[in-house]
């Protein structure tokens, strides 16, 4: 008999044995199935949740942005000449900040100067927030031009009197839909509408409100226009400067260098505030830890559950099995044949159990993710873990009884009570 033939024979024997003992086999496969299903389910659900969180993060703003805000400086007593000569956060800070050595990690910079103003068209007249923006603002905040055109670099440089509206603002001020090229009055400044941003829409779950509705209310003009024409500010002061740095570690370096630069520019006045990158890094790490703990916990629970089922099955069928082994040995089965048949049965049960476990695990996580309204994502890693778990259950748990059964003497086994 060749080896493959022998293996096929053994597999057939194992299958017969399993069919002869359906209860025992089912319970044993149940252990594997529970392990696989709970590992796969646990991983898939938390993975889906994490993916969703990442998606929301990416849409809402992400953690790759370093913001600089101006702050009020509280003086004790009369401010010194140095203090009163300070001009706050300016466009210069943003431009120079983009040139420090560690700024090569920065892939976009946006500036914002806000103002409150009356906005008038031939259809509407409302008090609105007006966003004076810089070059990368629209891209960094996920705005795309739906029709018309975006600001040109010339518009930004000269503070040209042009405006781009969000979808809500467009429908309020120009309900007829004829927008591009129309005049709009912002405060005292007449501007021309050159484009409209695409509607921004994002809901955590289906049927919930659009959390980006406010973004569609934007009335955007070049920041220079707000500073110079609307507020008479020659220093081009800003309300926010944002640097986008995909690499969080590089962000920490850049943050240090930027802080030195801005402090020097501001004559050593702490009149600005920088996002704390180190803290953010720490928070992200700990968030990863939380997920890892969830994974491990679900894995351990699965192990305990499956292991208990397995041990109980083994205990319950020990007497029966020992006698069986005794009979088989008495009629000439060598120990290693007993061992191999135990292991073959275990492999077969592991295969069957883990197949069922995959189905149940996927179904389970599908139901859960569906019920909390997030898309199901199945990570290849979770399959790897589940398979590993199945192998542990099927194999290691079978190894002990197999080794024990195959080593006993036939006399002891036959007399076993």
């Amino acid at each position: 008999m060749n080896t493959t033939g022998a293996f096929r024979e053994r597999l057939r024997e194992a299958w017969i044995e399993l069919r002869e003992n359906p209860g025992r086999s089912f319970l044993q496969a149940l252990g594997v199935m529970l392990g696989v299903a709970s590992v796969l389910g646990g991983f898939s659900i938390s993975d889906s949740q994490r993916r969703q969180t990442e998606r929301i993060f990416a849409r809402v703003g992400g953690i790759d942005k370093l913001n600089v805000f101006p702050t009020d400086v509280v003086y004790q007593g009369t401010p010194s000449a140095l203090q009163s000569a300070n001009r706050g956060l300016r466009l210069e800070d943003a431009l120079e900040g983009g040139q420090v050595p560690s700024a090569k990690a920065v892939n976009a910079t946006s500036v914002l100067r806000q103002a409150r103003a009356r906005v008038r068209s031939e259809f509407a007249d409302q008090e609105r927030d007006v966003n004076g923006i810089g070059a990368d603002y629209a891209a960094m905040n996920g705005y795309e031009i739906e029709y018309g055109r975006d600001f040109s670099s010339h518009d930004f440089a000269s503070g040209a009197p042009v405006a781009v509206l969000g979808s809500e603002a467009a429908s309020v001020f120009f309900p007829t839909g004829d927008i591009v090229g129309k005049p709009l009055r912002i405060g005292d400044v007449p501007v021309t509408v050159i484009g409209v941003f695409r509607d921004k829409n994002f809901r955590f779950r289906e049927g919930q409100r659009n959390i980006f509705a406010w973004r569609n209310r934007i009335v955007a003009v070049p920041s220079g226009l707000v500073a110079a024409r609307m507020e008479g500010d020659n220093y081009h002061r800003l309300d926010r400067v944002t640097f986008r740095i995909p690499d969080l570690k590089a962000a920490a370096d850049f943050s240090k260098e930027l802080s030195g630069l801005v402090t020097a520019n501001h004559r050593l006045q702490q009149d600005y505030r920088l996002d704390d990158v180190a803290k953010r890094l720490e928070r992200q790490m700990s968030q990863g830890d939380v997920y890892n703990i969830i994974f491990m916990l679900s894995g351990v629970l699965a192990l305990i559950g499956g292991g208990m089922v397995n041990v109980n099955v083994q205990l319950a069928s020990l007497k029966e099995r020992v006698r069986e082994v005794g009979v088989k040995m008495a009629i000439g089965a060598p120990g290693r044949e007993i061992f191999k048949s135990f292991m073959t049965e275990a492999i077969l049960l592991t295969l069957l159990g883990s197949a069922a476990g995959y189905v149940i695990g996927i179904a389970f996580s599908w139901v859960i993710t569906k019920s909390i309204g997030i898309p199901l994502s199945l990570a290849p890693l979770s399959f790897l873990w589940a398979t590993l778990m199945a192998a542990v259950f099927g194999f290691l748990f079978a190894l002990y009884p197999a080794a024990k059964a195959s080593r006993q003497s036939p006399m002891e086994a036959l007399r076993y009570e």
Binding site: M1, A330, I331, G332
Partner: protein, 229 residues
């Protein structure tokens, strides 16, 4: 030709302090084609001798030759092969696999001997016919009467055409009528040329055998050659 030949066979259980000497030097020879009965009261060492002769256990001392093979120094795997090839066991409690069909129970020794599937099946069916239960192949042992189960056990014992048929109280769990039928089957098998060694404590059963070997306190006390009844 000798099937069984033992010289000074001893078996000691336990260690120095509380050692139990189950066998204390057995010299026994059984020729091919003999029908021998091994009798003796409980505690006389019958079961121990039976286990050693059946290669289920190894002696502490002495030599044992089964069908030309030296047994006393063999390892577990070799003993298993000898049991498979040369010994057919019939137990008092049948020792059938309760969840396997009758056919499979009979096929099992041939499976371990590596007999191809089709041949196994065919021989198992022949054997079931030979022991008088040809129509029970696909039932489970639980559905059979004691006598029928013992017939299955005998069919299984015969599967690999063993040199020696060893029966340990084969009628112990049967009523006297069924017991007689099973004994008749043994005699028939003996008539066909099988070597049979029957362990019993019942003198009337032993009387049916051609030869009676009596064991007492780990020693052969009496060996009597009788005319087969």
């Amino acid at each position: 030709m000798k099937i069984i030949e033992t010289r000074g066979l001893t078996k000691v259980y336990g260690s120095n302090g509380n050692a139990v000497h189950a066998l204390r030097g057995i010299d026994l020879t059984v020729e091919r084609g003999e029908f021998a009965a091994l009798i003796g009261p409980s505690g006389s060492g019958k079961s121990t001798l039976m286990a050693i002769l059946g290669c289920l256990d190894v002696p502490t001392g002495g030599t044992y030759t089964l069908d030309g093979r030296q047994i006393e120094r063999l390892s577990g795997a070799d003993l298993a092969a000898i049991r498979n090839e040369k010994v057919g066991f019939v137990f008092q409690q049948y020792n059938l696999l309760p969840k396997a069909t009758i056919l499979r129970n009979v096929e099992l020794p041939m499976l371990y001997a590596g007999v191809p599937r089709r041949e196994r099946r065919q021989r198992a069916l022949e054997l079931l016919e030979k022991v008088g239960i040809p129509d029970k192949a696909n039932t489970l042992p639980g559905a059979l009467s004691g006598g029928q189960r013992q017939r299955v056990a005998i069919a299984r014992a015969l599967a690999n055409r063993p040199a020696l048929l060893l029966a340990d109280e084969p009628t112990g769990a049967l009523d006297s009528k069924t017991g007689q039928e099973v004994l008749a089957l043994f005699r028939e098998l003996h008539a066909q040329g099988n070597t049979v060694l029957l362990v019993t404590h019942d003198p009337t059963i032993a009387a049916m055998a051609g030869r009676r070997v009596e064991l007492y306190d780990g020693l052969l006390v009496q060996e009597r050659q009788e005319q087969a009844a």
